[in-house]
């Protein structure tokens, strides 16, 4: 038998009943993260069938998607004042469901309320070797720790609640080898956008990606999370990175990380997880990032991406492509650089952590957001917000004229009042530039926090390398 990959080790460690020709594997889930949007129907199912949440101790609950990003001190008194009625109803349902089923909820006022994929790592619940699911496709984020994180629908959320297991067929594996040193002004976001541009939005379908190589090794945990987060934008089931000393140092001392002797045992186990040297993969891709430029999307899926100085490709007679750039109102054969911007959004589970906020602040410091631009900066969690404020980053943001808001998913998907208007163009650090994703008729250009900040100052899509 040949060596095993990181993914195979984690997979094998969670098979309760092996798959057969007729039946999938019964596969154990170590951590179930839940939020208000994709759980109400699953809770209803449990109620209707008289079932319980089997392991409430393995559930991490918060509210992030439909929450307003203005302060809420008291749910009853201030929610209706700042929220649309339907999301408010959903938020209340979440509080009630968690209470009824005995689940601890990181709700308003909790230091760890925030975006599901920000708080899991932040409290140390995300750990190497765990299987982590959430009714949210960006659950791939947790793979940055050498965990296997993947998104599931509401029916499967119900399966995990009732049994702590899922029925799964083993996915295929794919190695992405990334080499080269990033230039100044180029970030993890640019790496993942360039990769999706290279392999396409379906390049990873059916596969679990392992990101490897010297470039990945040199990234901090928050940058690794940015990469793994967008695995789903390449169609992949999950994206993983082998745990190493960077991973261990990040987790050390976090409240849900093992402590004392248990910590030493855990670290010992975690360090056995990296792929064996002779591990094989179903597919392998190489990407050299030493000459990589900041990347911007021009179309309506994340694979429609160009280096910032390069022109938008010509669609020829591809109808889907034409439809996409017509929607975006961009011209083929011209670069995106210089395109007028209405809104800049820094936030989302892709780019709302301290590294992202610091990178944004470096560009904004001592400068002003252009008059034609509304810039929103939305931290990933309450804890990120507090830390950023302790460092004084919020003062840089507000002095530049940006709007510094409460934690949540916010304008990444426009579920509450943070929405684009029809036709508005937003340079966004989020993960999806789908039609209307940030509000009906809105146009999204995905970019790094650095590119977003540079564009906010210029009032048009701008190259951050000119401001560093």
């Amino acid at each position: 038998m040949g060596g095993q990959s990181l993914f195979e080790k984690v997979w094998n460690d969670h098979v309760v009943v092996p798959e057969t020709e007729d039946t999938p594997a019964v596969f154990y889930i170590d951590l179930h993260i839940i939020h208000e949007v994709t759980t109400p129907q699953a809770f209803n199912m449990l109620r209707d069938t008289g079932m319980k949440v089997r392991r409430p101790d393995l559930v991490l609950a918060t509210m992030d998607h439909s929450t307003p990003t203005v302060p809420i001190t008291n749910l009853e008194e201030s929610l209706d004042a700042v929220s649309d009625p339907e999301p408010a109803n959903q938020i209340r349902a979440m509080v009630k469901n968690c209470d009824e089923f005995g689940i601890k909820l990181h709700g308003f006022g909790d230091a760890h309320r925030g975006i599901v994929h920000v708080i899991g790592p932040e409290i140390g619940a995300t750990q190497p070797g765990k299987t982590i699911v959430c009714g949210d496709s960006h659950s791939s984020t947790h793979g940055a720790f050498g965990a296997m994180g993947f998104g599931i629908g509401a029916t499967m959320v119900g399966h995990v609640m009732a049994t702590q297991c899922l029925l799964l067929r083993k996915p295929k594996s794919m190695a992405v080898n990334i080499t080269g040193k990033l230039k100044l002004g180029v970030s993890a976001k640019d790496i993942i956008l360039a990769l999706i541009g290279k392999i396409g939005v379906d390049g990873g379908t059916g596969h679990v990606i392992e990101y490897r190589g010297e470039t990945i090794h040199d990234l901090n945990m928050e940058e690794r999370m940015t990469i793994c987060n967008m695995s789903i934008e390449a169609g992949a089931r999950a994206g993983m990175i082998a745990p190493d000393t960077t991973t261990i140092e990040y987790l050390r001392g976090r409240e849900e990380a093992p402590q004392g002797a248990a910590w030493d045992t855990a670290v010992e186990r975690w360090l056995t997880l990296p792929s064996d040297p002779d591990a094989t993969f179903d597919k392998e891709v190489n990407l050299d990032v030493s000459e990589l430029e900041p990347q911007v999307t021009y179309g309506t899926n994340p694979g429609m991406v160009v280096p910032i100085s390069k022109p938008v490709p010509n669609p020829g007679d591809n109808m889907s492509f034409k439809k996409s750039i017509n929607y975006m109102q961009v011209e083929a054969d011209k670069p995106m650089l210089g395109t007028k911007v209405d809104v800049v959004f820094v936030g989302s589970c892709t780019n709302s952590r301290m590294t992202d906020l610091r990178n944004t602040a470096k560009i904004l410091k001592g400068r002003k957001v252009a008059d034609n631009v509304r810039m929103m900066i939305v931290p990933g969690s309450e804890a990120v917000k507090q830390k950023a404020e302790a460092e004084g980053l919020h003062e840089i943001f507000t002095a530049a004229g940006a709007d510094w808001r409460e934690a949540g998913c916010s304008m990444c998907l426009g579920m509450n009042s943070d929405k684009l208007g029809k036709g508005q163009l937003c340079v966004s650090t989020s993960n999806r530039n789908f039609e209307g994703r940030q509000g009906p008729g809105g146009r999204t250009v995905l970019a790094s926090p650095q590119t977003a900040a540079a564009s906010a100052i210029a009032g048009v899509i701008a190259d951050p390398r000119d401001l560093i």
């Binding site: 460690d13 309760v16 019964v26 499967m156 049994t163 209307g436």
Partner: protein, 194 residues
């Protein structure tokens, strides 16, 4: 879930690649806490203009579309989020099978859990279906094949257990619950605890 053995219908053609779940059901409709009524938001921003008028040229707005059970969509259908609202809305419209040359993973799983049959065919067949809007075809879940009007049978793959559940009209939960003792034993015997 209703049992499906085979479906015979003319097709609805949506010849757009990479249709994402934000188009199928935009996020602003995910604030519901019910399963019911989601069909109304299906492709809403493609079905209606900004004044709320139906866009006649959109394939799902064709009068005959309501009676059709099979959607033929462009490559990589259902990419994006994990929202199960997407297959719920498609199912509510009356569609029971989606055919493409490629279907995104999470959407495919969500469809299988809701009696919506995801059918991936070879690119040649896919193109032929996209080019021939008014033909009646059969999706045979039992035989795992799509039968074209000329009698040609195109095989497709479907995960055997999900296929069993669709043929019997049962949820996958039953099988998981049958394994509870195995799950408990696994929890007890594993070398570390989460």
């Amino acid at each position: 879930m209703e049992k499906i053995t085979q479906l015979t219908s003319k097709t609805i053609i949506l010849a757009i690649d990479d249709v994402d779940t934000d188009q199928i059901v935009p996020a602003r409709f995910l604030t519901t806490i019910q399963r019911e009524g989601i069909g109304e938001s299906l492709f809403i921003d493609w079905r209606f203009d900004k004044d709320g008028n139906e866009i006649a040229s959109f394939p799902l707005n064709a009068p005959e579309a309501k009676d059709r059970k099979i959607l033929v969509a462009g490559r990589n259908f259902g990419c994006g989020s994990s929202r199960e609202h997407a297959p719920w809305a498609i199912y509510d419209f009356g569609i029971r099978a989606v055919i493409s040359s490629e279907i995104a993973d999470i959407f495919r799983n969500n469809s299988l859990n809701n009696g919506l049959v995801p059918v991936v065919v070879d690119t040649e067949t896919h193109q032929w279906l996209l080019n021939n809007p008014e033909v009646e075809i059969t999706v045979d879940v039992e035989a795992c094949e799509v039968r074209l009007p000329d009698g040609k049978a195109i095989p497709f793959q479907i995960e055997p257990f999900a296929r069993h559940c669709i043929l019997e009209g049962v949820d996958q939960m039953g099988f998981l619950l049958q394994n509870l003792e195995n799950i408990k034993a696994f929890e007890k015997n594993r070398s570390w605890q989460p």
